[in-house]
C-alpha cells in the first residue's frame, strides 16, 4: 500500500523558495575520465566546474563518481534523499523488505554557510534477493524498486542506484555541493559534474543533475522540448518521470536502449540525435536503411531541442550534443585522461598542456572507454594503504 504508484508529488509542500525563477541561460557540464582505470581525487573537477560558476545560478549542482566504493563493489549502492524522518523510516522498511541491506550509513556532510536546509541523504549497499523470476534480471528488479520509491506517497527519492558509483547533488553551486558532501575524500576513475541554471522547472534537490538510473548518469545543458513525447514512450516500459525536469528522460532512454535493447552506443547516439532525412537520403544503401529503421523504430526517443550532455556508466563516459549544436561541448585529451566540458578554459585550468582539444560535430558522440588492460586502482596505492 505504501508504495502504490502515483506519478508525481506535490512540490509545493517541499522546501523550495525558488519556484518563481525563470531565467534563460546556460548550465555547465564537465567530465573527467582516466581510461587506465586509475582512481583520482575529484578536486581538479571541482575546480574546473567552479571556473564556470557564472554559467549556473546556484540553484543546482552535482557530481557522479565511478569506482569510489571498492569495498562494496558488488553491491548496488542506493543513495536516497529524504525530506522527512518519517519518509526515511518508511523507505528503510521497504528496503529491508525487498533487499538484503549489507551496510547503511548517512552520506557524510559538513555544515557550510552556503547550503541551507539540506534534506537527509543516506546510502545503502544492498543485494537483490535470490529467486527472481526468470524473465527479471537483478538490474530490472532494482529499476522497478527505484520507480516504486520515487512514485511513492512519502518524500523519498533515489539519487543513484548503480554498483560502485554514486550521485551527490543538491541546491547550491557545484563547488558548494562538493564541499557539503566532503567529496574531497573520494577517489574515482570517472567524475562528471553539473552547475545548474534552471530554465523551465523548479529548483529542488531532486531536480539537480546528474540524473540516474542504475549506474547510468546524465548531466545536461539545454532543454529537451520533446520531453512529453519521450516521457510517454518511456512510460510504456515502466519508467516513471518524477523529478520535474526534462533531463530525467535521457537517463531512462539510455538505460532502455543500451541495457534493455542492447544497442551499441554509436546507434544510441543516432537515436537521440538522429541524422536529418536529407542526410540519410545521401548515405550508402546499407547505412541508409539502418538509419531509416532507427528513426522509424525510435522516433519517440529523438531528443528535440538544444542539448549538450555527458553520459556515464561503469567504464564509459560519452559526450554528445544535439544535431545542430545549440549547446557547446569541448573535448580535451591528455595521455589517458579524457575531459568533456562546456568550456575549454575549464579543462585547461586543470590540464594546461593538452595533447588535443576539439569540439565534435553536432550529433557525433565522443566515447571514452576503459582501455582493455585497465584496472580500477588508486592513484597511489602505497600512500592510500598507509593513510588508512
Amino acid at each position: 500500500m505504501l508504495f502504490e504508484g502515483k506519478s508525481m508529488k506535490n512540490l509545493m509542500s517541499i522546501n523550495n523558495t525558488y519556484n518563481d525563477d525563470k531565467v534563460i541561460d546556460a548550465c555547465s557540464i564537465f567530465g573527467a575520465m582516466d581510461r587506465s582505470g586509475r582512481r583520482f581525487s575529484g578536486e581538479g573537477v571541482f575546480k574546473a566546474v567552479a571556473n564556470m560558476h557564472d554559467r549556473g545560478n546556484g540553484l543546482g549542482g552535482g557530481f557522479a563518481a565511478y569506482g569510489l566504493y571498492p569495498e562494496h563493489a558488488d553491491n548496488y549502492a542506493l543513495h536516497l534523499m529524504y525530506l522527512s524522518i518519517k519518509s526515511k523510516l518508511e523507505t528503510e522498511e521497504f528496503l529491508r523488505e525487498h533487499f538484503n541491506v549489507v551496510w547503511q550509513e548517512e552520506v557524510p556532510s559538513r555544515k557550510t554557510a552556503a547550503i541551507t536546509n539540506p534534506p537527509l541523504v543516506w546510502r545503502y549497499f544492498v543485494d537483490v534477493p535470490q529467486g527472481l523470476p526468470e524473465n527479471q534480471s537483478a538490474d530490472d528488479y532494482v529499476v522497478a524498486r527505484v520507480m516504486e520509491i520515487n512514485t511513492s506517497d512519502n518524500d523519498s527519492f533515489v539519487f543513484s542506484s548503480g554498483k560502485n558509483m554514486a550521485v551527490f547533488k543538491g541546491v547550491g553551486y557545484p563547488e558548494e555541493i562538493a564541499e557539503y558532501f566532503k567529496l574531497e575524500q573520494y577517489k574515482a576513475y570517472i567524475w562528471t559534474a553539473h552547475g545548474r541554471f534552471p530554465t523551465n522547472t523548479v529548483a529542488w534537490w531532486g531536480g539537480a543533475h546528474p540524473f540516474s538510473i542504475l549506474d547510468w548518469t546524465v548531466v545536461h545543458n539545454g532543454e529537451i522540448s520533446s520531453y512529453g513525447i519521450n516521457r510517454r514512450y518511456l512510460e510504456q516500459f515502466g519508467y516513471k518521470c518524477t523529478m520535474y525536469t526534462d533531463t530525467e528522460v535521457i537517463a531512462y532512454a539510455v538505460d532502455l536502449l543500451l541495457r534493455k535493447h542492447n544497442l551499441p552506443l554509436e546507434i544510441v547516439a543516432r537515436v537521440l540525435a538522429a541524422p536529418f532525412w536529407d542526410e540519410i537520403e545521401r548515405m550508402p544503401e546499407k547505412e541508409r536503411n539502418l538509419m531509416r529503421a532507427i528513426r522509424q523504430t525510435y522516433g519517440s526517443l529523438l531528443l528535440n531541442g538544444p542539448f549538450a550532455v555527458v553520459i556515464a556508466h561503469s567504464g564509459e563516459m560519452i559526450g554528445l550534443t544535439d544535431r545542430i549544436r545549440l549547446r557547446p561541448l569541448t573535448v580535451g585529451e591528455k595521455d589517458d585522461m579524457l575531459y568533456l566540458s562546456s568550456e575549454e578554459s575549464a579543462i585547461r585550468l586543470i590540464s594546461p598542456d593538452l595533447d588535443n582539444a576539439w569540439s565534435p560535430m553536432g550529433g557525433e558522440p565522443v566515447i571514452g572507454k576503459l582501455k582493455p588492460d585497465a584496472q580500477i586502482h588508486l592513484e597511489d596505492e602505497k600512500e592510500e594503504i598507509v593513510s588508512r
Binding site: S345, R348, W358
Partner: protein, 252 residues
C-alpha cells in the same frame, strides 16, 4: 601583480574575476597604456569589451566567451584558443587567435578583423553585417563546422582549409543558410548540397582576387605562412543570390 615598464602593463589574471579584470584593463588604458599582457587567463569573459583605444592586448591562456564583444579599436592577440562568441558585435579592431575558436565567431560583427589560425566551430560569421566603409573580415586558417555565414548580411569570410587533405571537403554543412549579404571565399571544396538555398557559387573576379590577396597576405604574415602558396590554390566565391530572400514572406 601589476608591473609597469614605460607603457607596457602585465597583469597576472590568476583567479581574477572577469569584471575586475575588465575594470583593470579600462584603468590601464585610461592611464595611457599602449600594450597590455594578460597572463594565466582561464575563462574570463568579455575581455576587451567596450574598449575604444588603439591598444594591443596580448593574452596567454584561454579567454572566456564573448572576447572583444562590442570592442571598438584594440588589437587582441591570443596565444591559445578563443571560446564561443569571439568578436561578438565588434565595431573596429583586430582579434588574432593562434589556436582555434569556438562557436559563433564574429556574430553580428559590424567592423574589424578576426584572424584564426586553426578551425572554428558552428555558425562563424552569423549575421555579420556591413555599412558603407564598415566591412568586417574573418579569415579562418582551418575548416569550419556547420552554418558558416548563417544569415550573413555583410562583410567577408575567407575559409582557407589549410589542414584539409587532398580531396577532403570542408566540414561545414548548411553553409550560408539565410545569407543575404557579404561574400565567402573558400579554398577547397564544399559539396553543393551543403550550401544553403540562398547561396550562389561563382569564380573570383579581379576585384575578388585583390581582396583575397590583401587579407591572405596579412593572415600569412601573422602566422608564418607563405601567402603565394595559399593564393595559388583554387578558390570559389559564395554569394547571396538575393538580397532580400524573404522580402515577400511577411508582405500582405
Amino acid at each position: 601583480m601589476t608591473t609597469m615598464s614605460e607603457t607596457i602593463i602585465k597583469i597576472d589574471s590568476t583567479g581574477v574575476y572577469y569584471r575586475d579584470l575588465n575594470a583593470r584593463l579600462r584603468e590601464a588604458i585610461t592611464n595611457g597604456a599602449t600594450k597590455i599582457e594578460l597572463q594565466n587567463v582561464y575563462g574570463q569573459r568579455y575581455i576587451g569589451t567596450d574598449l575604444n583605444q588603439p591598444v594591443e592586448i596580448e593574452i596567454f591562456g584561454t579567454p572566456g566567451n564573448d572576447l572583444g564583444a562590442f570592442m571598438n579599436g584594440p588589437r587582441i592577440i591570443i596565444h591559445g584558443s578563443a571560446q564561443d562568441g569571439c568578436g561578438n558585435t565588434m565595431n573596429e579592431g583586430e582579434i588574432i587567435v593562434h589556436g582555434r575558436a569556438g562557436d559563433t565567431v564574429g556574430l553580428s560583427a559590424r567592423g574589424g578583423k578576426i584572424y584564426i589560425r586553426g578551425d572554428v566551430g558552428y555558425r562563424a560569421g552569423i549575421h555579420m553585417k556591413e555599412y558603407q566603409g564598415k566591412k568586417p573580415i574573418i579569415v579562418i586558417g582551418g575548416t569550419a563546422q556547420d552554418f558558416l555565414g548563417e544569415y550573413m548580411a555583410g562583410g567577408t569570410i575567407i575559409l582557407l582549409g589549410l589542414k584539409l587533405k587532398d580531396g577532403q571537403d570542408h566540414l561545414s554543412r548548411y553553409v550560408g543558410t539565410g545569407m543575404h549579404g557579404g561574400v565567402i571565399y573558400v579554398r577547397g571544396n564544399i559539396p553543393k548540397y551543403h550550401l544553403g538555398r540562398e547561396v550562389g557559387v561563382a569564380k573570383l573576379n579581379e576585384k575578388d582576387n585583390a581582396v583575397l590577396k590583401e587579407h591572405v597576405t596579412v593572415f600569412s604574415g601573422l602566422f608564418g605562412f607563405n601567402a603565394d602558396d595559399i593564393l595559388k590554390s583554387n578558390f570559389i566565391k559564395l554569394y547571396p543570390r538575393w538580397l532580400r530572400p524573404y522580402g515577400r514572406l511577411y508582405a500582405y
